[in-house]
Symmetry: none
Subunit: 127 residues, 2 copies
């Protein structure tokens, strides 16, 4: 009867506190719906879809903002900050800063030994 814009189905994410339904574009933290702006959602979705992987700043700027590598901006940092704020106390658990490279989302109970980037995947996110 009706067809509203459909994306290809990506299985929802869920851990102890956070869940994301990519089809409906809903994120919920401890069963409360998060109200995210578009950019905030896009950023979170990209990070979570690559949970455990480091995503370089450049890749984030490219994918979420369609910025080329020549653009200098702090908007990514600002958005990460706002996302962290909305993730409340779990923020540091979830969104890691990889100094000099980018960010990484970690599922809630991800085993974390020490912060080393050695041997961890740094993904490229081809166009």
């Amino acid at each position: 009867m009706e067809s509203l814009p459909m994306h290809n189905h990506i299985p929802p994410y869920r851990d102890e506190h956070l869940s994301i339904d990519y089809d409906q574009e809903i994120a919920a933290l401890d069963s409360e719906r998060m109200t995210l702006t578009r950019k905030e959602y896009d950023l979170l979705a990209l990070l979570v879809q690559h949970a455990g992987e480091i995503i370089p700043r450049e890749a984030l700027l490219m994918r979420v903002w369609s910025y080329g590598s020549e653009i200098r901006t702090r908007t990514l940092d600002v958005h990460v900050r706002r996302l962290r704020k909305k993730l409340g106390g779990y923020a540091d658990q979830y969104i890691e800063t990889i100094f000099g490279i980018g960010y990484r989302f970690q599922p809630f109970h991800a085993p974390r030994f020490f912060q080393s980037t050695v041997g961890k995947p740094v993904i490229a996110l081809g166009a």
Copy 2:
């Protein structure tokens, strides 16, 4: 599948305050019949028939006005406003604005989040 629909009967909508009989094209608020113009009714009916789903502006303009995506108009906003006015105090409960995307009708006691059930909940973006 189903039997071939000659007249497709759409089951009436009803919640604590609002009811709509699609066959007779009658809407009632707290048992009082609402006097809606054609466009107002079409808009309300479309929204209510997709209760819980976000309907993008474009889809509304396409379905109710037969406008293509190139047309720039504020008539949708004006109609939403008039609908809200006729929904009285329940307006904000019923018709949500999803910033940058469109509108969503929520049944009166709508569950707020997607949880276990496969319902038809929706986005959180905007607002």
